[in-house]
Symmetry: C2
């Protein structure tokens, strides 16, 4: 019964999420011949005699990742699936199956779960993935959703974070920062609602940024077009923690530098206006906001012609040699080191 | 912001865990050609061009599935892996990879996580599985561990719950009820410890039942021997919720009945003695206790000769026609319907 006599503990915040994972998994090595890629990419890659299975998992915790006040359960179910499918897409693989594990407190009833599963079902239908398993149990507090997504991919298509090389073009599939600004707006209206419950929230004309936060999509359409256009990105990651943070991941694992042209980073007009209203710099929202679930990828410049088939493509910079560091070319003509301030859930 | 205006809710307990899963997943169908088996067995089965991937997931929640007072984190990490590997074994497949997602409150520090991961690592080494991914995040309360296990299997080996037929022998791989009685003992000593903290817990001579609760094993050895002996069980399930509950699952999915010989159900001497000490009927502990993680399987009587290679094999009954129901032949010579009282975490 030694657990009642606690030893002094190091705060997990000291390491941060990525540092913590690195620290905890440093002793683990891959021993199975089928384990092609383990911790450290968007998803694990498992070889089934030449045919690859891609596996990713994400956990959403109430009051950490979502707030019941402004996340309706149906949207939450949808989003919980999307964040996992986005990881499969980021491997240039096709999502096929999910498992859903849920822990919930007695505050939740059957009708709540029906709503949550209606959102899960909608995402399954929309992305043609099957729910194949899961676990449902109690929690003492709130709702926890843990989803594992499974995808398929051909060996020559699977795209890692580590394949970028100097000269490659850095691309994103859509505008950034909207989900973050949308969250700020939801948070503000929540505070208004708490202090004056009879006042209805004012989301007039803000449907885009609210939608980006509450109902994100995974860019499976882009992955399918990569296959159709026979365009093979050299590296890829999904933007869940913020563009700057993801650029750092790509560069670290590819052992490269990068420069980003601030003026090329796509920002939606609603995002820009609302950011300014909140006294935030729109480019900071786009660089550090997170939860946009767009894809960040690099291509060989020789493949640029093939990329024109893509519905949304923004070339925002170029991969450089590692010694050149990771730089931001500002709209004002300055060059300074890019700051990574991804979302940390610690 | 409608979530603040709650509608009347149906208590999830009304449906129970299995009823709830059935209810929530009734609208989901399998659409992917690779989805061979979804919700409703120990694991999902995915076809990769003839080579099968088996996927199972389980969530452990603090104060629901474990108590920090008597579950050291190292043991907990080990057990969290085992309960998932056991599901893979129950499909007659070989576990290969796991993903581990953790949510933890600020009560936990880096050293705690190191302990937890040391247990996870030990299980990975012991069962030769690779940790290939996961997620680490905060929770507002306690520790939640969600693990997904991935296994491989050949199509002719994968064993479902649904293959039993009348005349098949019902077998278990080891004694039952020990984990449950071990938990009762730990719970009793916890109460003693809370009321008189200077009194050390008395586990003298109880190492077997304590071990069965704190450090269970998955019967991968049995699965490997099935392959070696070329013995194909007709159906299989792991005993996580209790023998009676699992018999009901097998019979329901195989559309059969069963009879169980009470006198044949293996019970360890320590289990028997401690059960009696607690005023519990040992056979009830064995039938309804759960968490033993032995395998329950059925074989064609013609295969009995092959089964002698197995290290532990207890033939406890026989599959019958559905109309004969599920019966217990008591040691006293009576026959009555088997009662399923598996553990429900609601």
């Amino acid at each position: 019964m030694s657990e009642t006599d606690p030893k002094p503990q190091t705060d997990v915040n000291k390491l941060g999420e990525f540092g913590l994972i690195d620290h905890l998994t440093q002793n683990f090595s891959l021993t199975q011949p089928s384990s092609m890629c383990g911790v450290g990419d968007d998803a694990a890659v498992i070889d089934n005699q030449g045919f690859l299975t891609v596996v990713s998992t994400d956990m959403l915790v109430e009051d950490i990742h979502f707030d019941r006040i402004y996340h309706p359960l149906r949207y939450l179910g949808y989003k919980a699936v999307i964040v996992n499918l986005s990881d499969i897409c980021a491997m240039n693989a096709l999502p096929r199956q999910i498992t859903v594990s849920i822990a919930l407190s007695n505050r939740y009833g059957v009708e709540d779960l029906e709503e949550l599963y209606a959102g899960i079902e909608l995402a399954c239908q929309h992305y043609r993935v099957d729910l194949v398993g899961g676990d449902t149990t109690s929690s003492n507090r709130g709702l926890i959703i843990s989803i594992t997504a499974i995808g398929q991919g051909e060996p020559h298509r699977i795209t890692y974070r580590s394949g970028a090389k100097a000269g490659d073009l850095i691309c994103v599939t859509g505008d950034l920062g909207a989900a973050y600004v949308g969250l700020q707006l939801l948070e503000r209206e929540k505070q208004v609602f708490i202090s004056t419950p009879h006042v209805q929230p004012d989301f007039e004309g803000q449907d885009y940024i609210i939608g980006r936060q509450l109902k994100p999509e995974a860019r499976l359409d882009v992955v399918e077009l990569f296959h159709k256009a026979n365009l093979q990105p050299t590296s890829m990651i999904d933007i869940s923690d913020g563009l700057a943070s993801e650029i750092f991941h790509l560069c670290k694992q590819s052992a490269t530098g990068a420069f980003i042209e601030e003026a090329k980073v796509p920002i939606h007009q609603q995002t820009e206006l609302m950011a300014i209203k909140f006294g935030l710099d729109p480019i900071t929202c786009a660089l550090s906001g997170g939860e946009d679930y767009e894809l960040l990828f690099t291509i060989d410049p020789a493949d640029l012609e093939k990329a024109r088939y893509l519905p949304d493509l923004y070339i925002i910079g170029e991969i450089t040699l590692a010694q050149e560091g990771i730089k931001l070319h500002t709209s004002g003509g300055n060059i300074h080191p890019l700051q990574a301030q991804g979302w940390k859930h610690f």
